[in-house]
């Protein structure tokens, strides 16, 4: 598990224990990251679109990245 950008204040570890079959959306709840604050989630390098977060199940060993929104710089 990894979070990026300004979201790093929510989580600075490397692993999260989730219930078996937990979805991406449920993982965000465990991390207490508001959905509106998330730019994109990827699992094992593949983008998980916003509308699929609730359906996309995670399995042990998945690498999930929670990316902050981009804002220009």
């Amino acid at each position: 598990m990894r979070v990026t950008g300004q979201l790093i204040d929510y989580f600075s570890g490397t692993h999260v224990n989730l219930d078996e079959g937990a979805s991406v959306e449920q993982a965000l709840v465990v991390l207490e990251i508001p959905a509106a604050s998330v730019g994109l989630v990827s699992v094992n390098g593949d983008a998980v679109p916003r509308e699929k977060r609730a359906r996309h199940g995670l399995v042990a060993g998945d690498q999930m990245v929670v990316m902050a929104p981009l804002t220009g710089g």
């Binding site: 950008g5 204040d9 730019g39 593949d46 990316m67 804002t71 710089g73």
Partner: protein, 605 residues
């Protein structure tokens, strides 16, 4: 009412300065800053003139909210015909200079002609004069700033100045104000240099008046609270917090856009800036706000004293402007460098000599690719190997370009002319001659459309498609948000406030502040229509300057070479699909020209 109602016209050829009333009809249609400056530019010059000729016009423009109690109200813009692109240049900056110009009693400063000898414009209260700059011609931004303040015994002067890069025509020379804020893009500093104008120094003695003070205070306080709830960590981490997101997303331009992920990203990102090393040194000292800003995203940093760049140069053992995302990208991934102190030092040099770090870094990236291909050798580069990853190449070439010495004169041409010179125009990562910012448009499709259609060339700040680009990595549905956000950003840029408020404020929030500030009824709809008018007038300027729809394109690398990794692996930019839809939404012909109906609708006919 927060327009001051006055314009200062400076004719450098004649050596005179003349105040004149602000055209309020134009102010009502174009708001201020970027929009109003564009209108004045359009009415005061022929877009066909050579950008470096005395016939080009240089405008410093504030907005109706500049200098007010609204948050982020320190913005001003510089408008001219850009030498990097041959297109309209609009480069805005923060710091304190913009508010001070407003307090001097002027909305706009229009500079015409060219002085026979170097001069600077001094505005102290109501006293205005052109002063000899012969003693500071050839001096750096920092030296000139200090000299002018001492010369006039006035440390409160706010100064916008050029360095040697601007004097000697570096195509991406910046105008730097308050030592390390800059109107950085498109070469506005080179135009200032071509006019023999070294600096503008201002100390104002007027306030600003708003239409409804009580309502204005109430609204701006509400807006500050909204910002505080949604500053997005900018104060703590700065814009460079985006670097690790770009890395994970796979849109971080690396080694001249050959790759989109950089293994050394975590040595130059926001966390690296906050990390204390084994000697107790931490790159970041503090954050810093521009005038009136409650976000405070600016960075103040320092370099390890034993670093090779400054080990024997005590004059750099001080704190100064630190890395923001674009500088970190331009001195890091795009040239393959992961040395945070070298990147920070190069950032100092950009401010000291007055150059755009994005254009410099991306030009150096192209030079490095040319070097690794064997097209240029150390015989061309003053003996310096220009390999990707070389921190020495970065810092040595930054200084050579700033001083216009040796190969620095080639780098000062910008990527497009340099790559043409060596017979490889395809290596230039530019649109209309202006270098890309730190976003690869194969992973961010709407960004690519915004780059291609950008009126000042490739630019990441004139539209906002980040959210839709992250949600969907195809080119579908990107034309509408690109067009709408371009119009909206044009309105925001014309207000006198900063685009970094856009996470918290939308059209109703901006309209509420303007409506309490300015005469007339300001609604979200009026703001959007004004933005669309501004965008189309910029387009008309470019068409009159000779640009065509053929200039609305991207380099072949982004259109044909699939992105090698990241979440968008395998994609190219789908500009060919997006552009016709964009033209249609804009009410433009297939040749990218506004139709008569569009011009009439916007009052441009």
């Amino acid at each position: 009412m927060s327009w001051q109602g006055r314009v200062l016209r400076v004719n450098l050829t004649r050596g005179d300065v003349t105040p004149e009333p602000l055209n309020m009809e134009w102010a009502n249609d174009y708001i201020g800053e970027r929009g109003l400056g564009t209108k004045y530019l359009w009415e005061n010059m022929d877009p066909k003139v050579d950008a470096m000729s005395p016939d080009n016009v240089l405008i410093f423009a504030t907005g109706p909210l500049t200098g007010t109690n609204a948050s982020t109200s320190g913005r001003y813009a510089v408008l001219t015909k850009g030498p990097l692109t041959g297109a309209i240049a609009c480069s805005n900056s923060g710091g304190k200079f913009g508010a001070e110009l407003k307090y001097a009693g002027y909305d706009l400063l229009i500079v015409e002609g060219s002085s026979e000898k170097p001069v600077y414009l001094l505005i102290e209260g109501d006293e205005i004069s052109l002063q000899s700059a012969e003693k500071i011609w050839g001096k750096t931004v920092w030296e000139a700033d200090e000299w002018i303040k001492k010369q006039h015994h006035n440390p409160m002067l706010k100064i916008a100045t050029i360095g040697v890069a601007g004097e000697r025509g570096v195509r991406y020379a910046a105008i730097v104000n308050d030592l390390h804020r800059a109107a950085g893009r498109s070469g506005v500093g080179a135009v200032m240099g071509s006019k023999n104008l070294k600096a503008v120094a201002v100390r104002g003695s007027h306030g600003v008046q708003v239409k409804d003070p009580k309502r204005f205070m109430q609204v701006t306080n509400e807006m500050k609270n909204l910002l505080a709830q949604d500053a997005g960590g900018l104060a703590k981490y700065g814009t460079n917090a985006m670097m690790d997101t770009m890395q994970e997303f796979g849109a971080l331009p690396t080694r001249n856009f050959q790759e989109v992920q950089f293994s050394g990203y975590d040595k130059v990102d926001a966390r690296a800036m906050l990390k204390t090393d084994e000697t107790g040194h931490r790159n970041l000292i503090t954050n810093k706000a521009c005038f009136g800003c409650t976000i405070a995203c600016g960075r103040i940093a320092h370099i390890r004293k034993d670093h090779f760049t400054i080990q024997n140069r005590k004059e750099y053992w001080h704190a100064s402007g630190g890395l923001e995302y674009e500088t970190a990208f331009a001195f890091g991934p795009v040239i393959g460098v992961d040395d945070i102190d070298a990147c920070t030092f190069a950032g100092y040099l950009m401010n000291e000599h007055g150059m755009d770090p994005i254009s410099f870094g991306v030009t150096l990236a192209a030079a490095m690719e040319l070097f690794e291909m064997g097209v240029i050798t150390t015989d061309d580069t003053d003996g310096v190997p220009l390999n990707f990853g070389s921190a020495e190449a970065l810092t040595v070439m930054s200084e050579k370009t700033g001083k216009q010495e040796g190969f620095g004169q080639v780098l000062g041409l910008g990527s497009r002319l340099m790559c043409q010179k060596y017979g490889h125009p395809e290596l230039s990562m530019t649109v209309k001659g202006q270098e890309f910012a730190g976003y690869d448009s194969r992973a961010l499709q709407g960004m690519g459309l915004g780059y291609a259609t950008g009126n000042r060339g490739a630019c990441h700040l004139k539209h906002d498609t980040f959210e839709v680009d992250m949600d969907d990595q195809s080119g579908e549905g990107k034309a509408e948000p690109c067009k709408t956000s371009q119009d909206w950003t044009a309105a925001v840029d014309s207000s006198g406030l900063c685009v970094f408020t856009l996470g918290a404020w939308g059209a109703p929030e901006f309209a509420a502040q303007l409506d309490a500030d300015c005469e007339g009824e300001w609604t979200p709809e009026r703001l959007l229509e004004s933005g669309e008018r501004i965008w189309n007038l910029e387009r008309l300027f470019n068409l009159a300057a000779g640009l065509t729809c053929a200039d609305d394109t991207l380099p072949e690398r982004l259109l044909k070479d699939p992105v090698p990794s990241g979440t968008a692996k395998g994609r190219v930019n789908e500009l060919g699909k997006m552009l016709p839809e964009y033209y249609s939404l804009r009410g433009w012909s297939e040749q990218g020209e506004p139709t008569p109906q569009t011009l009439t609708r916007l009052g441009l006919g």
